[in-house]
Symmetry: D2
Subunit: 261 residues, 4 copies
């Protein structure tokens, strides 16, 4: 009974940029999935933008426990229909882990309801991630801080709703800070945003990053059966009311009506 995971990769720079291709010969998504598969409790596969339906058919999503999302240059190429499908899977209980430049993905903005914007600088500077919530399951085995010697800077203000929990906060060499590990719940789905992961640096080969991702998958997993109707708004007829009541007053709706949406 392993946790079924899809690592979704945009797979654009992995193909077009030699630096990225050298770091991640089979694509970033494959590197991330291989790390997850090192845990016997996780069964990770991959999907990419170029796959039919971006590799995210309804049938496949129904059988997925946690989805990781890395995108950057081609957010606009992701189909709105697939985004809604993924959103419904999350609302029904699928975990979602959004990586780095995925802050601007359609699915993250869709679920946050905010711009998810930030300031940025690509200068290969040092990032130091601090644990703000000691012994949170997502930082199991992580020391109070760890460093990534080369990373892109993302700076506050980060345009997100107030998180459920702020787990990690980053310090950057150039003077900025960033909430780099934040949790949310959307419907029955656990959502984690994790900042590091610029494609021209070896971030996904870092041991602490690998540990955080393994932890995050386990944290995001909701073992209960998927809610298949996360948008339903059922009418409760008077005669089925839990306490006896008598209908009274003027009515707008007719009996058995579905209501407006």
């Amino acid at each position: 009974m392993s946790i079924k995971v899809i690592v979704w990769g945009e797979n654009v720079h992995d193909q077009e940029n030699q630096v990225v291709a050298d770091l991640y010969p089979k694509g970033m998504h494959t590197c991330i999935a291989n790390n997850l598969n090192s845990d016997t409790g996780i069964e990770a596969s991959t999907a990419v933008l170029q796959d039919p339906e971006h590799g995210l058919s309804q049938e496949r999503l129904v059988n997925t426990d946690v989805l990781l999302w890395w995108g950057h240059a081609a957010h606009g190429d992701v189909s709105d229909e697939v985004v809604e499908r993924v959103a419904n899977a999350v609302l029904g209980g699928m975990g979602l882990i959004v990586l780095h430049s995925g802050h601007f993905s359609k699915i993250f903005k869709r679920l946050m309801g905010t711009p998810c914007n930030l300031t940025w600088r690509e200068a290969g500077e040092r990032e130091r991630l601090w644990v703000a919530s000691r012994n949170h399951p997502i930082v199991k085995g992580i020391p109070d801080h760890f460093e990534l010697e080369y990373e892109e800077m993302y700076g506050e203000p980060f345009g997100i709703p107030e998180p459920l929990e702020t787990v990690l906060i980053s310090w950057f060499q150039g003077g900025e800070v960033f909430r780099s590990g934040v949790t949310y719940k959307r419907g029955a789905g656990n959502v984690f945003y994790f900042r590091p992961g610029h494609e021209t640096y070896p971030t996904y080969h870092d041991e602490n990053v690998k540990t955080v991702l393994l932890n995050a998958v386990k944290w995001a997993y909701n073992e209960q059966p998927r809610i298949m109707n996360p948008n339903d708004a059922p009418n409760v007829p008077v005669e089925q009311a839990l306490e006896p009541i008598v209908e009274r007053g003027p009515k707008l709706h007719v009996d058995g009506e579905l209501g407006f949406k």
Copy 2:
């Protein structure tokens, strides 16, 4: 220096349903705006679905401090472009108060990122609203509970993100409960959802409801200048870094690039 408010009304049942027309001869929006205008610190006008651009032009929104939204039967008729315009105004600091069946409005779902669904029953039953946060500014002058003798039932589970604050919780005669007053922040904008207000009952003539709405407008008002670029993600060039850093490592972006969205 009064708070500039728009009360937006769908204005469909107000025109088509005699019960609603008798309760609110000039429309629900006008009744709500009249109440707000009883406060010398508030200057409320109205806008309706049928107006050009639904009465919500960019120029008008820029000069609006707080928007109240009542819709029910025609959520789908609201233009997506106007919804994005309103969303950006909220993110930039405009307050938003969503009323009753507005839980299913495009703008509320857009800002919450969740279905905002619930169970419901139109039976004219008694609703009792309990204050969960004593002396919250939104319940100034409100006793620990108040009743609405005739209301539509909305029941949990309510498909919203965990609120910033749960201010009011409703008891229903038929056996349900509901988080009927909840606050959020989206960008610089304060958001309040307030449950009561079914169109076939005289809810907006109720003194406690009127008080809550007056309080909510004052609470939602952000007196600071509107942020006009709530979606920007500015690049910070290396030479403008706050601490001296030297660019290093491979780069993906070229200098002066806007970045991906």
Copy 3:
């Protein structure tokens, strides 16, 4: 590798009141522990007020993963020293589940920082608990609502800090509502308050209540090693700073000082 649990019972009415003794012949704590022990992944024992150190020695707490707390008439008899010991265990990662009248226990008020007060009525009325967070791990296997035919009423306003998550909300026959299942995090410790459990009713024999408690123990369990110094505030000497800095400006503290508390 089972989850080690202590069910702490005040054990006063269990001894003195015939109704309670008939419902719970070996005490409420034993009934609750027996339910937990029905799960092979849990190893539950009991402790009572009358035990030396209330059964909560430092040695025992160090080896406890989750503590359940039921108290009512004798909150004041619990030693402040034991309360601090339990608080430190929670801050270090022990889970805590506070039951019913435990809302007024020293340990709950200590960790919340608020009065935790409410309104109440002992009339054997019907309580209906509604799930506000579908598929939350604490309500695994629980329908959207369940009823307890006889319960004491607790009503809002409930004097707690805004919860991390509101999982359950109660409806009462007499007209009140109550946030009856709320989560918190204090340090590394997960805290859950669960409302039902008046001693003169058979609440802890109810199947849904038993399921919630089993779920809550698993949810509250933090598998990481206990933080043994949850109150430390370590000085970081200049020479150990992660980035090279030079000490400057006037100083208050002398080198190696522990700082003020």
Copy 4:
């Protein structure tokens, strides 16, 4: 109708340390109060540890809207009785602004329920505070970041409950980060913790710091009448139930009983 404020100062180093005395000839509390009094809407006075009842008599607290608290070396000398008195005032609606080393004050730990610990270093290093919540009332008039050239370092993990809102996050020259502006609500009282303010540096002469404190006082002010019984747990007799119910089942309490605490 001005906001009535007390700035409470420990007033120990202000007397004993020449550096502090030179920076704040009349004490830090007086400097802070003078800044607040520059706003015609605020009426600030001071109180110090050495005053009878630490200057915080019940009569004075009842007439105070917002209390600012600066302490460091003598937290243990503050009387527990006065701490409870202040806590009750906050729960009843008085605002509380805790400054710098006040993180370890009895009143802050009492209201948070957590250790409020952190790492620290006194090296006169540069602190840069970033706004995480644009246009929050507390940062009105503050740019996206500001610097304090000389400050004591406080580092994460900061042992606080998850804040209601994280308004400011600090970057430190030596490599740490810290949530330096966080809000809470305790009962009807708004609480703000603001990190800067080490006594050997001129922090309270900084214009941005002064602006934050002025904003924070206005934000913390709850204009509603003080709740004088924030700890009450009233019994609601059956005959006064809002919905007609009949008492049934076995009882523990006798009629008119106050209940257990």
